[in-house]
Amino acid sequence: MEEILIAGFGGQGVMSMGQLIAYAGMKEGKYVSWLPSYGPEQRGGTANCAVVVSGEQVGSPLVSQPTTAIVLNNPSYYKFEPTVRPGGLLIVNASLISKTSERTDIKVMNLKATELANELGNPKIANMILLGAFLEITGILSDESILEALKKVLSPEKHSLLEINKRALELGRLSTKVGI
């Protein structure tokens, strides 16, 4: 069972990252759930969502000790870095987060995703790069499922963006190997 927590500012695409994972999980016949943080507090501060991908019926969609946390800004880093389950994974958008985790019981991946996204010509797809990294490391879902999910999630008029998203995913996967 993967219990994933994705957190950042509103507008960084954390909610849709989570939905893509859930969608793709569903397509692959897994049990999934997605739960957003909600309410006014997300306005000023951080937004986050919890995704569970499991072989069994999902009990609680709440994720208090994620197997993977993907954090996209400083406040999220401080809030969730300590909660990652020992043996779990922490993916950090190092473009926006200066701190580096000193935990040794988890795997930490620092990725300058915003810079990479800029290179691809669209700073908004930093989230897809992080997602690519996540997929590469955990291997829980195929790119096809994610892209199929993307087609569902993007409105038809935005399908032109599919290509760049695909490239972002690939770049994310790649970056885990070359260690950018």
């Binding site: 500012f9 000023g44 501060g45 800004n73 400083n74 406040p75 926006l96």
Partner: protein, 76 residues
Amino acid sequence: MEQRVVFNEETCKSCQLCVKACPTNVIYLADYLNEKGYRPAVVTDQESCISCGKCAQMCPDSVITVYRPEKIRKTV
């Protein structure tokens, strides 16, 4: 030169209403983030500020304090 317009940067939310309100266009967003993750508004060219206070009137977050240099009367 003393500061005519001072920003409490940590409370700025980058809304840029001050930027647009400034008649002399001296306010801009810094290229760093404050703790909240916003690029704070700043003024470097303090001399060009005419202490009109418009930015402060417009700022929703009471970030800005504005000073006016005392008229210096010299008695020769």
